[in-house]
Symmetry: C2
């Protein structure tokens, strides 16, 4: 077959130079037709849209044609033609076909629809489906949007460490990282494991957050963000939890809580706008197949300011709702960590808008959050979203060395573990603030998918580390 330089399908579908000789390569989605003419829907992953290949059977070898089955990989030469029936503006009238890779009938992704549960079991193949092609293209676009947003605003992308010897945030159970031979663990005279034999000479784990190191960077480079994997060894088998997920954590010197709220709102709206501008084919598909209100919900968030509300006011609203007969599974009272049902009540029923809840009781938040003058609350902020609940958590940080060390002590964080963090407050401290966005939470919102296992290529959950 003549060698013609390949055109990606996403580009081919925009061409109007009908009659041109073209080459496309991709995988067969469907094949149908008569005894004379066949129509092959070919997809190469560059777009959710297939290109229709028109095959005049008389011109091709019969044995070769038998290999054109769902899942087979083809290289097709042909002439670009205007299309009436294919659902696209163009099609390719095949002049040459090479089967690069055949695909027999044991292929798990035959034509019929598959459940998302089944597709998780063939996660190595599921990006070949319309659904997961769409999800992973959107995932790409959201990552690019995130980098673009921060780069345009003079933030520096900062890589905080994945392996850490400190667990200061106490954000959950951690995975231990070791090179010790578990069959021959050395112990010291007290019977304690002798980590002197381990790779790092001490006990090490996978990070649960890059925030503390991000603060170090903000206190020198000014505005930074992280975007990397984080880990929680919680035994939670829910549609919202992953053991390995990606997180974005901006941290900004000289920002106070109001700047932080504005940054969070601008940031998330920028991402959603980007998705609508760049991923509409994929979003439309997901809207039609999984979540009929998806596009509406995305546009709604864009067109409304986020409500900003102190926790104390939020609790009052919830208590009033209870007094008026609204039932919740968990009790509501000042000091309680709000449950998802409470957050969703505020967002979906009361305000009908995203809500930024601020100034939480210090007891339910981390030691590093800036203490308010009331002595009871801290300058925390959680961004609550329809359908998702908490999508962002952040705070202004305590910049006062004395207050910070006192609070760390009260909460049992050993000073010897965070001396380096405290140094930023000893040497030229400054107000600063930041937040964390779970990347997969954002993707749940933007794709309309309902299980977090379906927005990351290879989900890690309890008893599952396949592929």
């Amino acid at each position: 077959m003549e060698k013609i330089s390949r055109t990606k399908i996403v580009d081919l579908l925009k061409r109007t130079d009908f009659g041109a000789t073209v080459n496309v390569k991709g995988w067969v989605r469907t094949r149908r037709g008569s005894k004379q003419v066949n129509f092959i829907a070919l997809n190469d992953g560059s777009t959710i849209n297939n290109v229709q290949i028109v095959v005049d059977l008389a011109n091709f070898d019969e044995e070769m044609l038998k290999l054109i089955t769902t899942g087979a990989c083809l290289s097709v030469n042909g002439n670009l033609a205007e299309s009436v029936g294919s659902g696209q503006a163009v099609e390719v009238l095949a002049t040459g076909i090479e089967v690069l890779g055949a695909c027999d009938n044991t292929y798990p992704l035959q034509k019929k629809g598959h459940s998302l549960e089944f597709l998780r079991e063939v996660a190595h193949l599921r990006p070949r489906t319309n659904t997961f092609g769409a999800v992973f293209r959107i995932r790409h676009h959201m990552a690019i949007a995130i980098h673009q947003f921060f780069h345009d605003r003079g933030f520096f992308y900062f890589h905080t460490p994945i392996i850490t010897a400190s667990d200061c945030e106490g954000a959950g159970q951690m995975f231990q990282v070791t090179t010790m031979n578990l069959y021959d663990l050395k112990k010291d005279e007290n019977g304690s494991i002798d980590y002197d034999n381990d790779f790092f000479g001490k006990q090490a784990s996978l990070t649960v957050s890059g925030q503390l190191e991000g603060e170090l960077a903000a206190m020198s480079l000014g505005s930074i963000y992280t975007f990397g994997p984080t880990f929680r060894a919680e035994n939670s088998n829910t549609p919202r939890h992953l053991a390995e997920f990606w997180m974005i954590e901006p941290e900004v010197a000289f920002n106070e809580i109001e700047d932080n709220m504005q940054l969070a709102e601008d940031f998330i709206k920028y991402c959603i706008q980007w998705a609508l501008d760049n991923c509409m084919d994929d979003i439309k598909f997901l809207n039609d197949m999984f979540d009929k209100e998806l596009i509406e919900r995305l546009k709604f968030v864009l067109s409304n300011g986020f409500v900003r509300l102190p926790y104390t006011e939020g609790v009052k609203i919830l208590e009033e709702a209870v007094a008026n007969g609204r039932k919740f599974e968990f009790p509501v009272y000042w000091g309680a960590d709000l449950a998802s049902e409470h957050e969703r009540y505020l967002v979906e029923e009361h305000f009908k808008s995203p809500v930024i809840l601020t100034d939480y009781p210090k007891e339910i938040k981390s030691f590093y959050m800036k203490q308010n003058e009331d002595g009871k609350t801290v300058r925390a902020m959680d961004v609550l979203f329809p359908k998702i609940g908490e999508i962002i958590g952040g705070s202004q940080r305590e910049e006062d060395y004395e207050k910070l060390t006192r609070r760390a002590k009260e909460m049992g964080v050993p000073e010897k573990d965070i001396w380096w963090y405290l140094d930023t407050r000893r040497f030229g401290t400054a107000p600063h603030a930041g937040f964390g966005l779970g990347f997969e939470r954002l993707l749940l919102f933007v794709t309309g998918m309902s299980n977090i296992r379906d927005v990351i290529p290879f989900p890690r959950t309890p008893r599952n580390a396949d592929f």
Copy 2:
């Protein structure tokens, strides 16, 4: 002090609206002057350049002035003025100064120069130095350049898993990841550790490469790249090795080895061009301080095509050199894995150009590389750079199911561990190719730094996981 909205120093230094009232915030680098007037060099991390603050001492409180020491954090109001003496075009005549954070004389970064070794011990503070500010701003820019390069070319950013239950590449020793209680390890009747009790229900490790999963993605989405942390538990205390580093791995369906070479060359030149276009202030500083040939070397790579040479030819050249009296520490012969000294001879002495070495003996390369028809070599490619040695390693992949499974067997890779990888060859296989770039290797080249610990914020090496 009056509240005026802050201008970042990188922006302030470009302004020409002299007389304007401005606010800058940042950290004191130096303070000098007379009994009447002081000059403060202030830096906020947005650029390597300081802004000079001119302080008429008579207008300010004496106690406050005492706090303006190296490392202190200030908020300064003042009038923008044209500068003659500061080395910059503008300076700020202070009208108000607030000390946000004092800094006593225990601050480790006093005015005098520090060794890079010492700065590694205070890695939490070193981004405040000119050197590490420059390095980490360049690191940011290189990450952005990488995303931009691939995004512009229709590649999708794909997150391969960090925690993996397979070690197919065998690229080195791995870190084990576990939640088991090491004091109470359960064993089965054969005395083997019962991983059914571990988080994933089986033994798990940190990834050494995302390539195999990246191939899955390429065989569905077409063109993808990864950019994430990878891990090697090798006990190598060298200036070139990290236990935790970031890697970029593009993988492209339908690309053959020649396309792969071109992509690698285009990619690396794009990054270097980006650095010269966007990081010149930082690069100039590093050129002057650490590596007087840095800028010259960067421009040299841009202006020369990379030599493309089969391994067999490379070995001939080296053998001739030996015959002509050139001494190497390690022996050269067909079949040997070339040592750094050999690679550098080809690049720096023989060709005086980057070299892409191809078609290596199959015995020294991985099972997944495409086998050449000679039965002896595979379509591997290593990109060799001056000063750095190997900066990229890649190959065309074996797309033939039979050949791939045979080679995996020969090399002792159990089929049960890679059934999902083999599936891509069973179902619609296609030629494809890809490569891996160690991000920190690229940074060594672009910054001119000579120790890899100095181009990543918090290096992880044997016996070191600080911060």
